[in-house]
Symmetry: D2
Subunit: 131 residues, 4 copies
Amino acid sequence: MISRVSDSFDSQTMMQTFEAKLTSVEHGRVEITAPILVGSKQQHGFAHAALTFALGDSAAGYAALSTMAPEYEVLTSEMKINLLAPGRTGPLRAVGTVEKSGKRLVIVRADIFDGNEKIAILQGTMIPVKR
Amino acid sequence: MISRVSDSFDSQTMMQTFEAKLTSVEHGRVEITAPILVGSKQQHGFAHAALTFALGDSAAGYAALSTMAPEYEVLTSEMKINLLAPGRTGPLRAVGTVEKSGKRLVIVRADIFDGNEKIAILQGTMIPVKR
Amino acid sequence: MISRVSDSFDSQTMMQTFEAKLTSVEHGRVEITAPILVGSKQQHGFAHAALTFALGDSAAGYAALSTMAPEYEVLTSEMKINLLAPGRTGPLRAVGTVEKSGKRLVIVRADIFDGNEKIAILQGTMIPVKR
Amino acid sequence: MISRVSDSFDSQTMMQTFEAKLTSVEHGRVEITAPILVGSKQQHGFAHAALTFALGDSAAGYAALSTMAPEYEVLTSEMKINLLAPGRTGPLRAVGTVEKSGKRLVIVRADIFDGNEKIAILQGTMIPVKR
């Protein structure tokens, strides 16, 4: 299960662009950590919302994948993010969890932290797709 | 109004990382276009959801900014994306529009296209912040 | 197609509680209208967000159903509402449309009006379920 | 704080229509319970999504109100619901919590239960408005 998640993670070039690392993989719970690179900022010098989104979406997606049968891959169907505070210093840490794992849909949440401060929350839907 | 939007856009390093261009700015409507770079992909070789999100969120945010008084900057408060189809070839084109521009909140939508195919829709909230 | 939508609508007791009427059914587009009853208000005397949600969700759901094969019924998987203005006088009119109709998921939007004022927008996902 | 929440709750006619009760009020956490009435159903005889939404939205809104200064009332700005399972028997129990309470926006979540089963999760934004 861990290698399936890490193999998929390693093949996402966007995660490499953000220098993101898979820092924990459990059944139904995945953590991803990434720095706030010079090239990942918005106009005030904080982490761009797309970085925060990318980490939360990926952590949630891999949490979903960790609960799916081996012949499936995961796709994001929809995702909603509420931003609580700017990501100022990093590294950012995203914790994705599974709320309900069904055959057709997997409902997920994610929380993003900058140090000890929670800076964003996500809620969405992943779909299993046959490889 | 156009220079205010383009100055802010140019200071977002994330937009440079994605090689995104501001291709149209009107009052309440902004278009952003970007290629699907080698470094912007997910595990199947399609555009990463975070790229699609980044373009839609930025187009919607700048559409909001184009309706705000000059002393304000814009921040994303929350955003929801539904993905309709993978971004396969690019360039991707995001069209952000304003649904309601208030003093405290600006409600926005965005549609993302890959060629003629609509691949994602977004709906969210921008907040004006004093510079 | 119209009778399929109206039969399902008529069997929703919640729509009767709200005295809602199906006022237009086309392929991929459905309108529902309802008064703001004395029993449908929030603490300031305006339409409760749950009324606005109910109408938008149902209009979107029936728009989705109108595009599905006859052996399917429709269920809401997820829905997001942004409220733009209070519903003051009514009747409220909800217009649901289909953004993409797939075999596994149907992506929808809805707009809610109080007279000529747009008071809410919705975006969500419907799933086809075999009867 | 408790009387402020219960006074506002009691003035919502929609809560009376649904026979909803405020069953717990703490700083930043509110519970609401309601039966699945004959008049609150969808076409399969389950709880209508609008009932589930109403309870979650209200529990989240009152959780937000419990953290606001006394001169403020609360309005829903936006809310997203993911439905995990149908509400079959009831009573339904909604637990609203505050993720971040700011001066301009309060970010909230809610979980809805039917017995021991979690049937829906919500995430959204409340805004404080001067009375």
